[in-house]
């Protein structure tokens, strides 16, 4: 089965063409241009390089977050637009699950960290059992204050391999807290890649065997909603007194 995967949840535009879980062609751009400018031209190049046409595609996989809110929506709108015209099933995976594939074969726990601003990361914790087809998720995806998360990880009694777009920037601080228990993979392994999404999407497809309704996975509410909820709560508390 031939399929396309799209990951625009970070500053990297990562596309892949794959067949039955085997990577065929991969696009990776980490420049200052926007996803909107790069995504269709990159898809066009990948298809012609692989000598595939759009009609060869049988499924489309998209990474639905967490990550950049705008990036998530660009990826999903693109995937939906293609799937709608080509009448293809759509499958979605979580960005952190996809990044767990960057640590495939390693014995440490795999901790993807994505920049969530405001001193927070989108993060989760995985472990690859030897011979397993997919990583076990030990701590589910969440938005977490960086120091709080490092503190939690310090309390665990194991080595940890960090991946994701925040890993490089936080290297010093991570090593300060975790010392030798921390492994930080270089950017070319640890940034989102089409190859990782292609694996995660294939696992998802094997699991559900049909298309699914795809919705963004932001983890966070928008700021306006958070502020509104706070105000409402204050108002309610004021009334109770």
């Amino acid at each position: 089965m031939k399929y396309l995967t799209i990951d625009t949840t970070t500053k990297v535009t990562a596309l892949a063409l794959a067949e039955g879980g085997q990577l065929v062609s991969e696009g990776f751009l980490h420049t200052s241009k926007t996803h909107s400018e790069r995504i269709i031209p990159m898809l066009d190049q990948l298809l012609s390089a692989a000598d595939w046409s759009l009609q060869d595609l049988e499924m489309i996989g998209v990474v639905r977050g967490p990550g950049s809110f705008t990036g998530i929506r660009i990826g999903i709108a693109t995937a939906q637009g293609l799937a709608q015209v080509l009448n293809l099933p759509l499958v979605a995976v979580v960005s952190l699950d996809a990044l767990a594939w960057a640590g495939k074969g390693r014995t440490e726990d795999i901790v993807p960290i994505l920049d969530a601003r405001k001193n927070e990361w989108y993060t989760a914790r995985y472990h690859w059992r030897s011979g397993a087809e997919r990583a076990d998720c030990l701590t589910p995806p969440q938005a977490m204050a960086t120091e709080q998360w490092l503190d939690y990880l310090r309390g665990l009694n194991c080595s940890i391999c960090f991946v994701g777009d925040a890993a490089g920037k936080a290297k010093e601080r991570i090593e300060e807290v975790l010392g030798e228990r921390a492994v930080i993979l270089p950017d070319y392994i640890s940034l989102p890649r089409g190859a990782y999404a292609a694996q995660a999407v294939w696992e998802r497809w094997k699991e559900i065997g049909e298309g699914e309704l795809v919705e963004p996975y932001y983890i966070r509410f928008s700021e306006a909603e958070v502020n509104w909820a706070k105000k409402e709560e204050a108002r309610r508390n004021g009334k109770d007194e």
Partner: protein, 346 residues
Amino acid sequence: MTGNQKSKVIILGIETSCDETSAAVLANGEDLRSHVISSQISTHQKYGGVVPEIASREHSMHFRPVVQQALDEAKVTFQDLSAIAVTYGPGLVGSLLVGVSGAKAMAYASKIPLIGINHLEAHIYANFIQHKDLQFPLLALLVSGGHTHLILFEGHGKYEVLGYTRDDAAGEALDKVARTLGLGYPGGPQIQRVSQEGNAQAFKFPRAMLEADSLDFSFSGMKSAVLNTLNSARMRGEVLSVPDIAASFQEAVVDVLVRKTLMAIKRTGVKTLLLAGGVAANKLLRETLEMSLVKLGIRLVYPEPIYCTDNGAMIATAGYYHYLVGDFAPWTLNAVPGLSFPRLNN
């Protein structure tokens, strides 16, 4: 759908620049086959205005079903389309990107051209949806929450901006005054509603006309005058009539819009005025213009209220004229939140 449909020009128009997700299918520039608008007004109401991140999230959820419904109601498939036209600016960047990304993917997968539409130009083209007999040159008064422009329209794709607002847009000023008066969002329609019970002569708010020969607008001083009036009344412990204030302010705004428009008509000698944008639905503005223009033998044209809001039909209509001259967008098309009015071939 039969094979000869393909010889027709069928445009899918998509609009996501602010808080409406809309799509329409237009055949041959005149046959509006479908028009779907999913409005988010109720979602944003409790925040007192459009919240960009929430708007983007809503577009992301509604985009696919809105487009599908437009195709289904028009009884066409992507294979029947000649091109897909989409708003790429001005507007909220996150909202624009949902439409641009989706439209691009659809056009690419359908192997048909993509057309990037300037939202302001589309508002003017809303007049072409129901009026097929418009003769150039035309003068357009574009009044909305974001813009106040007087534009000379000499032919398809040929524009000259004669005047624009130097600060607040007319609709923006109405929105702000409405909020201060506690009338809620969106403000324009609320002001119009309460003004019916008010005395427009109760308060004399200033009319900012700028330099004698200028066709530019300025509404921020007029808005401040209302706020000052309210503040000083509050300090004196007086309660002013909200309908009177609303009616007087509405009249001041309309007065300036009409006076500048008449100046532009005199200067250009055009015989037809097009009203466009959300504020074009304002009844007082329409009636006042109508009265002044009838005396001068000038024809006033405005879209039905549904085409004054942000809508896909106007995008498809503008798209049709771009299609005729082969003005297509590259696959690198990006959202341009601050896109200004096009001054093509000028």
